[in-house]
């Protein structure tokens, strides 16, 4: 789960990381009063989960509180990469002497949190990695000991030859590591970490992602989720305990298990179709989940046919069949449904479907070819 910058700043502040003052606003008048309180020139920044906010016009300088209100007026309601801006962050404009990058990610290869730092900050770090890899230093941290003082200082000296600045940056890295572990992050990034002409080191941005698996035991973090930034169908799916991702095709897919769901989408493509979604109904076989799944899939007007692909292991295929029949009684499904099911209780499942006038196939390839053909006919 990605946090907005203003939410990340709350975690940064709690960890003691030095940042410019400022606050978040939902209206131009709120932005104006924040600008008045912090004084001087401010930056008004759109709070959306999208990179390239500046280029899209979502970051503006304002030299007076009235200008800040005007900037907020322009940015609030703006759409950046398909996302509507509901909030802006208002912070004093810092005098910048230099920009660096400090990031901490959960690294799969080393199975540890890994620091990435670079004196080339303020730009996309993947671009730095591609063009000037020598400007990046990486360090895997042993989670049993955390970041050790000499490790932090070593990384900091790579950013700043000056001892006072290096010491300040090392302290920030220790604080960043602490907040990363304390909040179960998968990413915590400061881009840019700046120095000011009077020698201060400050975090000018706060990018934080929380491991989704942490949210059950951390309701305080879970409530930071911004559902307005998500596809509405994906929000509905999460509430129904389904994993759903909307795609751009027209073959609705309903599958049990993530690997099989991906393989099913791939097979739809292989036979010349385009999947409309990824949907994993999970291992348990609750007919209600199937009803929710069908509701979500059918609410997408681009879906021209629906494919069920169920391999019953823990999932009982008769439960899925019951769910399909219940759903078609509760609401009208206007597109054809192709059902492939095999495994646990498949005889009972076939009986349930046939009693309701539906059929089931047992072969995955046959079912996918059939659904793709139906979509072609509908076109």
């Amino acid at each position: 789960m990605n946090l907005h910058e203003y939410q990340g700043r709350v975690l940064f502040r709690a960890a003691g990381i030095p940042m410019p003052d400022g606050d978040v606003a939902s209206t131009p008048s709120e932005a104006e009063s924040i600008a008045r309180r912090v004084g001087g020139t401010v930056v008004v920044k759109a709070q959306v989960h999208a990179g390239g906010r500046g280029k899209a016009g979502g970051v503006k300088l304002a030299s007076t509180p009235a200008e800040a209100a005007g900037a907020a007026e322009k940015i609030l309601g703006m759409t950046i990469k398909g996302l509507v801006v509901h909030k802006v962050l208002v912070v004093p404009a810092a005098d910048i002497a230099s920009e660096a990058y400090v990031g901490l990610i959960m690294d799969r290869a080393s199975q540890r949190p890994v620091f990435m730092v670079s004196p080339a900050g303020g730009i996309d770090i993947e671009e730095v990695a591609a063009t000037t890899p020598e400007k990046i230093r990486r360090l895997a941290i042993d989670p049993r000991y955390g970041i050790l003082p000499h490790q932090a200082l070593g990384l900091a000296f790579f950013l700043y030859p000056d001892f006072a600045k290096a010491r300040a940056a090392a302290r920030i890295m220790e604080q960043l590591y602490f907040l990363f572990v304390a909040n179960g992050c998968s990413l915590a990034e400061i881009n840019p970490l700046v120095t000011t002409p009077d020698g201060k080191v400050l975090a000018l941005d706060a990018k934080v992602s929380i491991d989704d698996n942490e949210l059950d035991r951390r309701p305080d973090l879970a409530q930071l989720r911004d559902e307005t930034a998500e596809e509405p169908s994906e929000v509905k799916a999460r509430r129904a305990n389904l994993t759903f991702i909307k795609l751009s095709g027209n073959v609705g897919c309903c599958v049990n298990g993530a690997g099989l769901a991906m393989a099913t989408m791939d097979l739809v493509k292989y036979y010349g179709g385009e999947p409309a979604n990824f949907l994993d109904i999970g291992g348990s076989s609750n007919p209600d989940k199937v009803v929710s799944a069908l509701r979500i899939i059918t609410s997408d007007p681009s879906v021209k046919a629906i494919l069920f692909n169920i391999f019953g292991g823990i999932t009982r295929t008769d439960d899925v069949a019951n769910g399909i029949v219940t759903a078609t009684r509760q609401f009208k499904v206007n597109v054809p449904i192709v059902i492939r099911l095999t495994g646990t209780n498949e005889r009972e499942a076939i009986r349930i479907l046939e009693a309701a006038g539906m059929q089931a196939l047992s072969d995955m390839d046959e079912a996918v070819q059939k659904v793709v053909a139906l979509v072609r006919e509908a076109a």
Binding site: R108, Q111, P143, D212, N213, T243, D266
Partner: protein, 290 residues
Amino acid sequence: MSIFADRRTRLLVQGITGRDGSFHTRQMLEYGTQVVAGVTPGKGGQVFEGTVPVFNTVAEAVAQTGADATVIYVPPTGAAGAIFEAADAGLGLIVCITEGVPVMDMTRVLPYVRERGARLIGPNCPGLITPGQTKIGIIPGNICAPGRVGLVSRSGTLTYEVVNQLTSQDIGQSTCVGIGGDPLNGTSFIDCLRAFQADPETDAIVMLGEIGGTDEQNAAAFVKEHVTKPVVGFIAGQTAPPGRRMGHAGAIISGASGTAAEKIAAFETARISVMKRPVDVVQLLKARLK
């Protein structure tokens, strides 16, 4: 022979009295797995299904029953604790089925388990099965058949799909291992490839990967150097959009890294026959085993 587990494996079930634990313990007993003990703190002294003694702690269960492997069906927030306890009790094989274990927990679990010489499979995995001998986890026994093809996978139901194709064409399996769909896990493709290569009763290997990370690319490099047995591979997620987690926590394309195309290319340079569809597994294996 087989890898990691066989008919002599003496299994302990952590979370045996829970909903999932009790259901799957019955299935394992029915399959013939030697389930010698269960652990649920606070329920020590009970007997599960009239045959399996339940203990409060893993240490006690091991001391009383000589269990040498464990399977974990406890909820996500307790899973790391269960793995620590199992490793501490000296169990050599720890299979964690639980989905949703926080990654931060795994960063502490993995070195702990390794230092004690234990093998962890999972988390977020279906476990393993040596057909005709033992099953540890949730892979349906009825779709498997004893034989000489080893299978390793990051997925659950996709594994069942492929195993079912094999069995229906009379191609049996030595051992099928699901290593799990999480970004940090205990056993990698390479660990399984090494074991299958060393197993005299495995003739060929099927490897089912997916988008995200570089485990498949590393596995391909390992195959090139160290595996002489034929390998057939599949990558799920060719149509997955970048930046989205496709159900499995580890199935995500980050930037330009972890794509299906890059993994398939790595397989091809390592002479791994690449399945375009799950059904292709049979023909490709037959061609390589000629």
